[in-house]
Amino acid sequence: MGNDGKGGTDLSRRRFLTTGGAAALAGAAAAAIPGAARAAEAGAVPKRWDETVDVVVVGTGFAGLTAAIEARNAGAKVLVLDKMPVHGGNSIINGGDFAAPANAFQKDAGVQDSPELMLKDMLKAGAYLNHVELARMVAENANAALEWSRTYVGANFNRLNFHGGHSVKRSVQTANQSGSELVNKLLAKARSLGVEVRLRTKLERLVVKDGRVLGLQVRKGYAWPREDSGEPAFLKARRGVVLATGGFSQDVKLRQVHDPRLTDKFESTNHPGATGEALLAACQAGAMDVQMDWIQLGPWTSPDEKGFGQVPQVCERIVGYGLMVDPKTGKRFFKETGNRKERADAIVLLGHPAVILGDSVNVGKQVVPKVLNKAMEAGAVRRFDTLEAIAQAYGIPVQPFLEQVTRWNGFVEKKSDPDLGCMIFPDAKPNVAPPFYAMRLWPRVHHTMGGLVIDTEARVIGFDMKPIVGLFAAGEVTGGVHGAVRLGSVAMADCVVFGRIAGRNAGGGKAWA
């Protein structure tokens, strides 16, 4: 992967191996490899296509399934592929929060918001590196995308949440606190419209001729993670291909190309298939990538459980209510409501996990009981009768810690934090009522902001600065929307907004054959 010249050679060799590797063929194979490799690099068009559809969508997360539905509704015959044996990618293990300005839940709660304010928040967090026109598309269309998800797709959202870096509470959460609510409803809707979804099928190469994507070469029956599994096949896409293959947080080799600090010592919240080969296949077909070294760590994961886990949904609900301390000093060290990058950097700088805590009133009000119970069963969130017991459990110096809690409670009373500028919510209460809940925090690789360059029509831009005809992309595989930092809950908005655009444009495109 990422090894341009050799990629084609490896593919050819693998193909020979799986076909039985007959000794008699070995000589011919060896002679054939260089030619085959050159042909692959040049984007050879197969003499015969194994299958023909109008639109091929690669990826079964929010963006892919959304694109499939819209392409189908634009009149296209649609085939959706996923290399994994399960559908949903990262979307199906995500927390189900969807940022949408001026949404119905905000109106009910009396929260003032606007697309302009969301754009401002995205640009500020993104260090103004965002491709502004893309960020604006997300901010301006997020609420329509949320309403489409609720009313047309039928996904159930029932709660308004805050996420670090946003000016207001604007994230609406699924009723089961998981992206699976939306993914599974999207899948059911897509199937009901006649979209075929095929798992265990891996994109290997885009077939491109004269600046137009004609289709793709895949491995059918691919058994992740065995790279030699499955059989090659060519799929013709008469109108277009939509790449919705997600990011590369689990691709240690690729992420280290762009950020050498992110060695295999850093775990990831992502599903194990979140690797970058589809993104690289697009690059090999002439697509341009951007901002690949902006790789985000989530500051709310726990070293006491695996993966994304339960703690993010406890930690993120109590920022602006409880306090986060450095266990070495007992003191706060960074504003709890800061954006992901700021907070993750601050914890990594400590060199050891931070501790965040809240009392029974704040936690009881803010955290979904089922989530809290699961986090406690996992041993990642612990319950304590006294603050002293917390200090003892995490090796925090008692006196400075107690003083810090008292100081924080004073800020909560005044709704203002002169020390670190943390946002304190109007309904926050001083943390005085036992039991107390505490957890350790250590960041994990969560989101890759960089990816394929697209325009506002979700067309992938090539190194000649022109759209590659017939190639569209949406979601985490793209770059530029979020700039340096993606704010929490804007991924769902990004995926559904651009998934819809990509699907409509691919489905309504002109057929090449």
């Binding site: 076909t19 054939a32 044996p85 199906i92 998981s178 699976s180 994304f308």
Partner: protein, 172 residues
């Protein structure tokens, strides 16, 4: 050119598939013989010692014979000792029952599994008490996961949840 080669190598492809399907026994070559009696270890494993020393002869055995010593509910249960594909064989389920009768064997479909083990709703009920989550009704996929994601027949089973969770499921 490569795809042409593929088409001309049908038998070789089948052989390759069978090798991939074959269980991996440490230090031994396996030559899969689809016609072998399920209890005839040597037919595929040759001289490799795949049974513990002193094990009774299994050549003529069926699942019920194994169960006389290996009580499925007891500590000697075969679940962790023998790949599921072997247990299917011993129970009289042949290759074609799962993979179809086509010249080219197909991966077993969910429907093939559920024909004997289903319906899915029953499987969800069967594991309802498994802690900390019902593996057949996860918060992510509900009852929609394909059986073979975890229940591999010809290689070690997989605890898919363990990619992200510390669920200590014993997957049969």
């Amino acid at each position: 050119m490569a795809s042409k080669l593929l088409k001309t190598s049908g038998p070789a492809l089948l052989a390759a598939l069978l090798v991939t399907l074959a269980p991996r026994v440490a230090g031994a070559t396996v030559r899969l013989d689809p016609k072998a009696r399920p209890g005839d270890c040597a037919a595929c494993h040759g001289a490799a010692k795949v049974l513990p020393p002193g094990h009774v002869a299994t050549r003529a055995m069926k699942a019920a014979d194994c169960a006389r010593c290996h009580d499925p509910a007891g500590p000697k249960a075969l679940g962790a000792k023998l790949p599921s594909g072997h247990r299917h064989g011993l129970a009289g389920v042949g290759c074609a029952d799962c993979h179809g009768k086509a010249a080219k064997p197909q991966p077993a479909s969910v429907e093939a599994c559920l024909a004997c083990h289903g319906p899915a709703a029953e499987l969800v009920k069967k594991t309802a008490a498994v802690k900390p989550e019902n593996p057949h009704d996860s918060p992510h996929w509900g009852p929609q996961m394909e059986c073979s994601v975890c229940h591999r027949q010809h290689e070690a089973t997989v605890n898919w949840c363990a990619h992200c969770h510390t669920f200590d499921f014993k997957v049969p």
